[in-house]
Symmetry: C2
Subunit: 266 residues, 2 copies
């Protein structure tokens, strides 16, 4: 890896969620931080377990919400966001996301999704008024958090074939759709292909070296590699009810793959 | 709704996750409990916010884990499960699931997934040795929790078309795949089609009556309606690497729909 030039220097937020500081996830997060800093980038870290991040949304997130009033979560979070009156831990994370040119999420796949700790970061930080909502551009494209790249770095216990296109668990892209398309792309971030390490229940030392090298290559391409070519909501592919127009997809495509532009197009 | 006969009486666990006791989610959970009890069923409730459920997996979940030793989550949870030494709150929820003939999950869709609170119930309760693992039958079919029906009851802010087969969010079935196929079917439970209420940011009173009536019909069919016909791992449709065999699917099917048997087959 070579050091980047001053104008290639970027700001990167690494969010990690694993309870064990000696875990593979912790090692990968720490490797990413070191590697990106050595390249000349500025890096901030949200190590959610170390921060004792509060994982669940409740009325305490909105200090001005009157306790006797019914809590409408989205409305209360939007009001608090626009008034600058969110709980300080949420506001601090929003500031980090806003500061960043790229966000990396490091987590173990648990039950085909992010751990509750990371889900709680997503649920609490990406409020209406900050990440989506009537005050920001429409979702899926040039929206609230546009201009930021987004990378999932995930460890997976199961073997790779089980997450392949015909694998029983579903393809990794489909299983991660709620994060890749539902969080990143919805809010305007630019999702890259996930970096996944499979078969991690037993990862021998020699595989770790190869894993680290592969991850280094992905980190080096963070701002240059081709992102997942999701379709934008306002790009002409969807109708007014947010349904893909007939015949836009390649023949034989169904399911979540509909929302990716075919290779060679656009 | 008619009362069931004594031999049709079942045990049902309702798990709900919303911070506001006056929310639509709380109303639906409470309606389900009342309706099922009136029909003669036995019902237990896990109201996760009311219980102040601990949402995040950590070493405290495994009281015999030595604090100075590296925590391998799956291995530690499997040892604690098999030794009957899980944290008492986890053991109590496992007992409820084991007791049940059906599990209903009631939640608002947040970021295309369950709220962190509910994810934490899934992450902590469905341990190796209880819900999957070397000591129980293989996943996706007649596995650890076989014999139990499973129903998602979800409220969704967005309009229904955006979650249709060509909707930009992905079909509801695909978005809920990590729960329906990844949790329920993986552990051997029998998933039903989700019960979803859309457009819930503003739900007028007159729509609530219709919603309740529709939910009542689903609850009445809890033990009789046709489940989602997912393919079983050992039913001959997958190879030894857990990939779907070529040509098993209907022409034109791709994505997560591959893992559902075509209508009229089987």
């Amino acid at each position: 890896m070579n050091e980047v030039t001053p104008r290639e220097r970027k700001k990167i937020l690494v969010v990690s969620a694993h309870p064990e500081p000696r875990s593979l996830n912790a090692a990968l997060a720490s490797f990413a931080v070191g590697h990106l800093r050595a390249a000349g980038h500025e890096v901030r870290v949200s190590d959610l377990y170390a921060m004792k991040w509060k994982a669940t949304v409740d009325a305490d997130d909105f200090p001005e919400h009157a306790p006797d009033r019914r809590l409408h979560v989205m409305a209360a979070s939007e009001r608090a966001t626009l008034a600058g009156r969110l709980a300080p831990d949420i506001a601090a994370e929003q500031e980090k996301v806003r500061w960043s040119d790229a966000v990396i999420l490091q987590f173990p796949m648990w039950w085909f999704s992010v751990p509750a700790m990371l889900k709680g970061w997503i649920d609490r930080v990406f409020t209406s008024g900050f990440a989506y909502g009537p005050e920001v551009p429409p979702p899926y494209g040039d929206s609230a958090l546009a201009g930021r790249r987004a990378l999932v770095s995930v460890t997976v216990g199961a073997r790779e074939t089980a997450f392949s296109d015909r694998g029983i668990h579903g393809s990794l892209a489909d299983v991660l759709h709620p994060v890749q398309h539902g969080l990143f792309w919805f809010t305007g971030m630019t999702p890259l292909e996930p970096f996944a390490v499979h078969g991690t229940n037993e990862l021998p030392q020699e595989r770790y070296a190869a894993t680290q090298a592969a991850y280094a290559r992905r980190l080096d391409g963070l701002f240059t590699e081709r992102p997942v070519p999701y379709r934008s909501l306002t790009g002409g592919d969807y109708d007014h009810d947010m349904r893909l127009l007939p015949g836009v997809e390649s023949p034989g495509t169904s399911g979540l793959g509909l929302h990716v532009r075919p290779a060679g197009s656009g």
